[in-house]
């Protein structure tokens, strides 16, 4: 975690230095007066030796200072604080929808097709699920907008702030991961159902509810959660595309516009926040896994 964080900080710091050619010239264009170039260079601190720059960068981070935007000349941290909530809400709600939807779907399909029963149903279900996994979220979003907003005019095509405006972005972001997670639950459950301890449970003639929920479910939670964690970090990234499609004022639209405008301090800030979110999510998943698995909790405690 600490190492990862260090790498992230170094990497975000390095962005501006890895830009081919002169980043200041890239921002201001070839015809900018030399005086302005020199002033911007000083503003970005690029006239100082590299170690000093890095020291200033890290020191700034500890004080919550992420630099000043080249476009708006406002502190980067302010813009981020203003934009982050939309992204967090979008990713969070989508994750909940995906996780809550995937579990029953995976359980139901696995139980109904177990041991080769209802094979037609299984084929249809896996075809739909397979398709939903392959279609990237931005295309799904286009399809959803077309159906719900253009053809049927049920929901707003874009925007942010009203609950109705949340529906399509969340669906677009959640459906793919939900299908994927349902597939994982399905496959894992079939593996668990073949385990000897499930035969032991069956030999007790317990009701199906107990066999599935008490005996089978806990044994596949570990893999489902691991995938769920990956899913969640993937969703953080997925917000970039979804925000752009639905014109949501979040971090995604910010990073896209600042890459286009070569607003390097802003890019560095957004990348840092995204990376930080990913690291925190990974840590949370690890901690949750540790607490639910009796084996690992024993090893740790």
């Amino acid at each position: 975690m600490a190492i990862s964080l260090g790498i992230v900080v170094v990497a975000t710091f390095a962005i501006i230095h890895l830009v081919p050619g002169d980043p200041v010239r890239a921002v201001l264009g070839p015809s900018a007066p030399a005086e302005l170039v020199a002033r911007t260079r000083a503003e970005l601190g690029l006239d100082q030796p590299l170690p000093v720059q890095f020291w200033n960068y890290v020191a700034g981070l500890f004080q919550g200072d992420l630099g000043t935007s080249l476009q708006t000349h406002r502190p980067v941290a302010d813009t981020l604080a203003q934009r982050a909530p939309a992204t967090l809400v979008l990713a969070g709600v989508s994750f909940l929808v995906a996780a809550i939807g995937a579990l029953p779907i995976g359980l139901a399909t696995a139980i109904s097709v177990r041991s080769g029963r209802r094979r037609v149903l299984d084929l249809i279900a896996s075809a739909i699920v397979g398709l939903l996994i392959v279609v990237p979220n931005f295309l799904l979003a286009v399809g959803l907008v077309w159906l719900f907003a253009v053809e049927w005019r049920l929901l707003p095509v874009a925007g942010w702030g009203q609950p109705a405006q949340l529906v399509l972005p969340v669906l677009a972001l959640a459906i793919g991961p939900m299908a994927y997670l349902a597939r994982i639950v399905h496959v894992e459950l079939l593996v668990v159902l073949d385990a000897t301890y499930l035969t032991t449970a069956r030999s007790k003639r317990l009701p199906g509810r107990l066999i599935y929920l008490r005996h089978a479910l806990p044994n596949m939670l570990t893999s489902a959660l691991t995938i769920g964690g990956l899913m969640l970090t993937g969703m953080v990234a997925g917000t970039v595309l979804i925000e752009t499609i639905f014109a949501i004022p979040g971090l995604g639209t910010t990073i896209v516009s600042s890459i286009t405008a070569k607003d390097y301090p802003m890019i560095q800030g957004v990348v840092l926040v995204y990376a930080g979110m990913v690291l925190v999510l990974n840590l949370v998943v690890d901690l949750v896994l540790m607490t639910i698995d009796p084996r690992s909790s024993l090893a740790e405690g």
Partner: protein, 589 residues
């Protein structure tokens, strides 16, 4: 043979679809710009922003250019950029994946550690990171998508290379002095080529979608150039006016991505399991019927009073779907009765059908396995039909199982206490506290010290022998009439075996339960059982009273089993006989 399997692999519906689809995509990439290039660039102010029509199936854009032509002509750019990004990821991924295998330990750790950290980041974030460096341009986006794919590819290759490096032929090569580079070139790369192709195809599909994503964000191909992602971007801005301008490029992206995914499936395909099971099931029922004629009348030596019998099986046949389709009958008409309190041993080699016979007696054969019998009962409960609640209750309380591997027969996620108490809680409706009290007594009766504390523990905190004893204790929670013990001691070491057998024996004297004891070890079975059934190839070939085993054994297979057991008088200068030897010896004489 090899060509035949390859051809049959490609001539599946999926294979044909993939081949045709990829041919179309490649064809469009080659001829698309030539045929539609001019039309795609031709502006016409009069025709601007039109909806779909016969002339312009996908409508026109703001300069009056035909969107369908642009989608078709854009194939080349989209495919080439995706392939370029894939090539970057594959080339650098292979290098970074193989490098650690030849590096010294510290550097290897550092490199694989770094790759693992990068893997934690979703690749769109990596792509955005690189995109920020190289700017919003087609080349920048290609580099970004390519570089973002490196960690995943490097990881795959490293795993692949390490597993190949661990194989015997590579070890042999190293022993005769082939250096690490030579090993890589001669052994690892050729053997990794197949999986690499599959992964590269999957990756190409991903790269295509990602590239479309970047272009869609405006970070990829820049106007006036265009690819599918760019067209999608232009299309969604006008989705109210002309949905087809967005749907069209979308279809192109999804279809191409799907063909590439299918292609990777075709490359990777081993015979499909689902298809086999399907054909397997179709053949199952007839096989059971036709098999009925072969019912060998098993010797019926010891009779028990059927009315009282704990367990009765008449003409028991069990079939499973075969690996090559069709169904394979594994048990061909077994006759068996177990009297109350009787200890019956079944002995036979693996594959003789002894374990599935025991599972059928407990009513635990699950589909796709199929059970047929003239009669199959446990204490009057008919196991062939659906079970009533009362029947389930009886089975749950009176029939206990002990399996071979105590590591897998207890649920790792539940405490021992929960697993012991649940059957009586469900079937007898006893309170939690009373069930716990019973569980404490049951654990104590199988000699587990400190049972109160042990109840709160998980199976992984128990040793193998203790788990097996906990399984026996689980059987003692109800009022057992039959304990099916399937190789209960095989996975344990000798001293623990003895304890487990003693526990079983004590459980039997305590509750007068019958025991069905299954083992491949005839000496063990003879010492433990009242009566022995010898099974071979799904049939009971001989039934004997245990104490008459040495005297009465008639069947050559039984005799062979007995001969294989060394005793004090065995000639220790001779190798132990095996059953194959005895067969040949008999045939020769």
């Amino acid at each position: 043979m090899a060509t035949r399997t390859r051809r049959s692999r490609i001539l599946t519906p999926a294979g044909i679809t993939t081949a045709v689809g990829l041919a179309i995509v490649v064809g469009l990439a080659i001829v698309g710009p030539i045929i539609w290039g001019a039309q795609a660039e031709a502006t016409s102010v009069a025709d601007r922003l039109q909806g779909p029509s016969a002339l312009h199936p996908f409508g026109t854009d703001e300069l009056g250019r035909d969107v369908l032509a642009r989608v078709l002509a854009g194939t080349r750019t989209s495919v080439l950029l995706a392939l370029g990004a894939t090539a970057i990821a594959v080339a650098l991924g292979v290098v970074l994946g193989l490098l650690p295998t030849v590096l010294p330990r510290v550097l290897r750790r550092a490199l694989t550690g770094l790759i693992d950290i990068l893997l934690a980041f979703p690749w769109l974030l990596l792509a955005l990171f690189f995109s920020a460096i190289w700017g919003a341009s087609a080349t920048g986006a290609m580099l970004a998508v390519g570089f973002a794919g490196i960690p995943a590819f490097a990881r795959l290759n490293y795993t692949l290379a390490s597993s190949i490096m661990g194989r015997d032929y590579v070890r042999a090569a190293r022993i005769v002095g082939v250096g690490p580079i030579g090993v890589l070139a001669r052994h690892v790369v050729p053997n990794a080529a197949g999986p690499l192709l599959v992964n590269a195809t999957v990756h190409a599909s991903g790269a295509l979608l990602s590239f479309a994503g970047l272009s869609f964000l405006g970070l990829g191909v820049q106007s006036p150039e265009y690819d599918w992602g760019r067209l999608l971007r232009e299309g969604i801005a006008r989705i109210y006016v002309n949905p087809m301008a967005a749907i069209g490029p979308g279809i192109a992206i999804v279809a191409t991505g799907l063909f590439l995914t299918l292609a990777s499936d075709v490359f990777a395909t081993t015979p499909r399991r689902g298809a086999l099971i399907r054909t397997g099931l179709r053949g199952l029922r007839p096989a059971l019927r036709t098999g009925a004629g072969r019912a060998a009348s098993a010797p019926h030596l010891v009779t028990t009073d059927e009315a009282d019998a704990v367990s009765v099986a008449r003409g028991l046949r069990i079939a499973f779907p075969g690996a090559e389709g069709g169904s394979v009958e594994r048990v061909h008409g077994v006759e068996l009765e177990i009297a109350p309190g009787e200890v019956v041993g079944i002995v036979g080699e693996s594959g003789s059908g002894k374990s599935i016979t025991a599972m059928a007696l407990a009513g635990l054969i699950e589909p796709p396995g199929a059970v047929a019998a003239a009669e199959l009962r446990f204490r009057g409960v008919d196991l062939l039909g659906p079970l009533s609640a009362a029947s389930k209750r009886r089975l749950g309380l009176e029939l206990a199982m002990v399996f071979q591997d105590p590591l897998t027969s207890l649920n790792p996620a539940l405490t021992i206490g929960r697993q012991l108490t649940e059957a009586v809680e469900v079937h007898e409706g006893v309170s939690r506290a009373e069930a716990r009290e019973r569980a404490v007594r049951a654990l104590a009766s199988v000699g587990i010290p400190d049972p109160e504390r042990r109840l709160g523990q998980y199976p992984h905190e128990f040793s193998g022998g203790m788990r097996q004893r906990a399984m026996i204790a689980m059987g003692l929670m109800g009022s057992p009439r039959l304990i099916v013990a399937d190789e209960p001691t095989t996975a344990l070491d000798v001293t623990v075996q003895r304890q487990v057998l003693q526990n079983l024996r004590r459980a039997q004297t305590l509750t007068h339960t019958a025991i069905l004891f299954i083992s491949h070890d005839i000496a063990l079975v003879a010492g433990f059982s009242d009566r022995i059934l010898v099974m071979k190839d799904g049939l009971v070939v001989e039934q004997l009273a245990a104490d008459r085993l040495l005297v009465d054994a008639q069947h050559p297979y039984t005799k062979a089993l007995i001969a294989c057991v060394p005793d004090m008088a065995s000639d220790r200068t001779q190798p132990l006989p095996v059953i194959g030897d005895l067969d040949t010896a008999r045939r020769a004489s």
